[in-house]
Amino acid sequence: MTIPWLTLLGLIPLLGAAVLCFPVKEIAKGIGMAFALLTALAGFAVAGLSTSGVDLTERVPWIPSFGASWALGLDGMSLMMVLLTVVLTPLVLLAEWKLFDRESTTRWSAQVFFALVLFLEALSLFVFLADDVLLFYLFFEATLIPMYFLIGGFGGPRRSYAAVKFLLFSLAGGLIMLFSVVGLYGESTTQLGAPTFLVGELAKLGFAPTTEMLLMVGFLIAFVIKAPMVPVHTWLPTAAEESTPGTSVLLVGVLDKIGTFGMIKFCLVLFPDASRQAGPVMIVLALVSILYGAIAAIGSKHLLRLVAYTSVSHFGFMVLGIYTFTTTGVSGTIFYMLNHGFSTAALFLVLGFAVSRRGSALVASFGGVEKVAPVLAGSVLLAGLSGLALPGMSSFVSEFMVLAGTWSREPWVAAVAALGTVLAAVYILLMYQRTMTGPVTDQVREHFTTDLNRRERWVVVPLIAVILFLGFVPQAALTIIEPTAVATLGQAGISDPVPPFGEEAQ
């Protein structure tokens, strides 16, 4: 009997959430944090095991009559996502530690928040680990429930509206995907004689072109809404504006990654031909997202909304990397998913600390913060520079890889996308200039009585450290990511374009 490491990994936070259902009052936060840290340890253990070559795959029949199985597996991409999830969760809990001491702004208790975060962590881990389409779908939809309550239960005055908007957009995508999942079931029953949902088995199916396109579009719509791309991104700014920064981190940093994750794991692998046909459309959508997100971020008057729009722009880059169908592009996207998680988390949380001091999230409410809270302002700057992909930061590597991959297919697309990096500098630096520099306003002086305290520094330092580490040693992650990218494109039957000068040399 081998130890089901991956199942255990997901069960730890689930157990934590279950424990927090009991009245434990004062020690609730401690228990929650303990389980989050334990999960992080387990996550690192799993990473260690899998990189040292242990096969962690689990296959147990679950609903035999549907052909569904409890199938978990780990590849380079899912490992990155698992690490991202297990690292961000304890940091989010730490960042929101004091949120609940101010009874007037929140409704529900810290215990509920911690339980929901752990529940969400467990479900997201299973989403990233699932090797079975039905299992993936199940957890994909189930993550909506804790996220819905996290948005609706904690946050600004219009949080209930934001929660419902988030849920309806996601459910719409999910149900359209359900149609395709049912279709896969039907197709696998006809073609293989018995239904199956294992990704590996489904990849062997051959479809009629129309069927393939139809099924692929069902998945793609769900992932495009999830990612989120223009024009179905509107739920994200609302959600980010109304929820607490910690919730936004989990939403943008972890949950939205399911969109790009799914495009690579399902759209590309299961429906390669249809995906290739959809390529031009997706590239256009990605470019629109990059530019629109960036411009909207420049015009944003609300700090958290601004960060949400920067993410729309970043997700545009990720999708662009996928639909260039090059090893560099896809590896870049997977690396981007990891980096974006950390750098957006840093930006959301640090700005969250600023917002909670000032009591307002409007850009206009700030000014001259760097004089009264230099460490906070410095953190905002570092997080922001990571967001605009400054060389030395990890996001630079991934953005460069995406652009390089794009260039090898479509130089003009890369040229347009590069505009996005310029705009990124504009929105980050303008934001920094308006809020942190300049003369200190009276309100800022009044509200910013303290700089980042020890707890808050413990949140920021690990994030910045990871960003810098991966910026200087990207190979640490890329060696794990690259095989996945190669395997994915191999399964999709697409080879990298030969560089023109390489061709001459041959």
Binding site: P61, Y137, L138, F139, S160, L168, F179, T189
Partner: protein
């Protein structure tokens, strides 16, 4: 001249007979027992009857007994076993709620004297004397027996008798609410009139089919369709009229108009009983007629039923959106669910290799998953109360999540199950139904069902929003219910969780038992 005694398979029919005998003994109790003993005696009789019937069902299942029983009028086959088992379980759970006396100062949800004029002295006297109608238990048992026969009858005549036996007690019980009696009486009358009308349609259709096939037996009708002696005109007319009768009971559009009024007017425990048991019997009986008797003519009815399914989902889901009363919202949601069930009936008869769910298995799984959620949801409805009895308005439930997190949490979970969100029984049911329709070649119907699932999800989620994010309503309290209400709630919720996580065993069971005996 010798008269052959009719053969009668006592053992195989025992579940049905036990329920009928229990109902008759219940009537005798009313006649001979002193008033103060009746409630407890009826309750004990009810539980003993249903448990014994279920035990005998298991014995028969263990023996593998199948076949045409009672001179070929009742079929005992896989779907009949499942329907009977489900009816007995849901019957027990939902009739238990009838006996809740702790919520309303020692009175049940039924009127003290149903024959008294609302507001009259007689009514006040009866209430003061703490009279109660303990005959509702035998009535419910009669109705349940009718449902069991309806789900298993092998000829149309038996089916018609069963239809009446199951309906008449329901008409009566719908009119017996303790609170808002005029509304309840109107509901009873409305149900009776429309029900009688639909029975007439059923009878007419039956007569025409008899004219076509020369027999009431389902097999004979099938044989007549395969080797016709008459043109199809009389067949189609008969089929359509029969369908009206069945679709009325299922609650499909355009024969759904009774559902909202009757569900709202009837005492909530009775609504719960109707919402699952009537629907289950009607769908099981309807599937038997359509698959066994009319299966050879499925090209004629499948497209029509597909259109009705879309209409039913659309009307149910869209009208539920506009409701401000939770009971009425659940009524429209029940219409929408009838639509989802029809989706599976339409996807019928595809040849599926062994071991997988076919259409009947999908239908039954959906009904069972839906049934547990319905039983628990209506039981919870009885517990949320204000000064004038139950509070069913959405506004009244505002903030329930903070004043009573456990109850609101369970109700929210049930709403998610209705909406078909994963990790609930409702999702697996929906999945089974959609995949059946897809394999039956109705992919477009799956798409329509997906769209209406989203619409439906919205109004279920609205309840959750109100409960958890609304301001608490001081005048509404959750009554301290006894086990009569809590047991159905707990069982229903636990089963919804179980079916969502580990549906395999039930699906396998259904896969064994999904073939109709012809």
């Amino acid at each position: 001249m010798t008269i052959a005694a009719p053969s009668f398979e006592w053992l195989e029919l025992s579940p049905l007979l036990i329920v009928l005998v229990g109902a008759c003994i219940g009537v005798l109790f009313e006649a001979v027992l002193p008033r103060r003993w009746r409630f407890n005696a009826q309750l004990a009789l009810l539980v003993v009857t249903l448990v014994a019937a279920f035990a005998m069902l298991l014995v028969n299942w263990g023996n593998g007994a199948t076949g045409l029983l009672a001179m070929g009028s009742v079929t005992l086959d896989g779907p009949a076993y499942i329907a009977w088992g489900a009816l007995l379980v849901f019957g027990l759970l939902s009739i238990l709620v009838f006996a809740e006396r702790q919520l309303d100062n020692g009175a049940t949800a039924f009127a003290a004297a149903a024959s008294s004029v609302p507001g009259s002295n007689l009514e006040a006297d009866a209430s003061a004397a703490r009279l109660e109608h303990s005959e509702v238990y035998p009535l419910a048992l009669f109705s349940l027996a009718g449902m069991m026969v309806f789900a298993a009858s092998n000829d149309l005549l038996t089916m018609f008798v069963a239809l009446e036996v199951m309906s008449l007690p329901l008409y009566l019980m719908s009119a017996m609410a303790r609170r808002r009696r005029l509304l309840s009486q109107e509901a009873g009358l409305k149900y009776f009139l429309l029900g009688a009308f639909s029975s007439a349609f059923f009878l007419f259709g039956m007569a025409l089919l008899y004219g076509y096939a020369g027999s009431f037996e389902l097999r004979a009708i099938d044989a007549a369709i395969t080797a016709p002696t008459y043109g199809p005109g009389i067949l189609y007319t008969g089929m359509a009229m029969l369908a009206v009768g069945v679709l009325f009971k299922i609650g499909a559009v355009p024969f759904h108009s009774w559902i909202p009024d009757v569900y709202v007017g009837a005492p909530t425990p009775v609504t719960g009983f109707m919402a699952i048991c009537t629907k289950l019997a009607a769908v099981a009986g309807g599937a038997r007629v359509f698959f066994v008797a009319l299966g050879a003519e499925r090209w004629a009815w499948q497209p029509v039923l597909a259109v009705i399914a879309v209409l039913t989902m659309a009307v149910g889901a869209v009208l539920a959106l506009t409701q401000t009363d939770i009971k009425r919202m659940l009524a429209y949601s029940s219409v929408a669910h009838a639509g989802f069930l029809l989706v599976a009936i339409v996807g019928a008869l595809s040849e599926v290799p062994g071991g997988q769910v076919n259409s009947v298995g999908a239908i039954m799984f959906y009904l069972i998953a839906y049934g547990f959620a319905v039983v628990a949801a209506f039981a919870i409805l009885t517990m949320v109360r204000g000064n004038a009895g139950e509070v069913n308005t959405l506004a009244g439930w505002s903030g329930l999540g903070r004043s009573n997190p456990v109850l609101a949490g369970i109700f929210a979970f049930l709403m998610l199950s209705f909406a078909g969100i994963p990790l609930t029984g409702g999702f697996i049911g929906k999945w089974a139904v959609f995949s059946a329709a897809w394999r039956g070649g109705y992919a477009w119907l799956v798409l329509a069902a997906v769209v209406f699932s989203l619409v439906a999800a919205y109004f279920y989620i609205r309840v959750i929003v109100v409960m958890f994010f609304g301001e608490p309503n001081r005048s509404v309290v959750v009554g301290r219910a006894s086990g009569m209400t809590w047991v159905p709630v707990a069982v229903g919720a636990a089963a919804s969780v179980y079916l969502g996580l580990i549906p395999g065993p039930l699906l396998d069971l259904l896969a064994q038992a999904e073939v109709f005996l012809r």
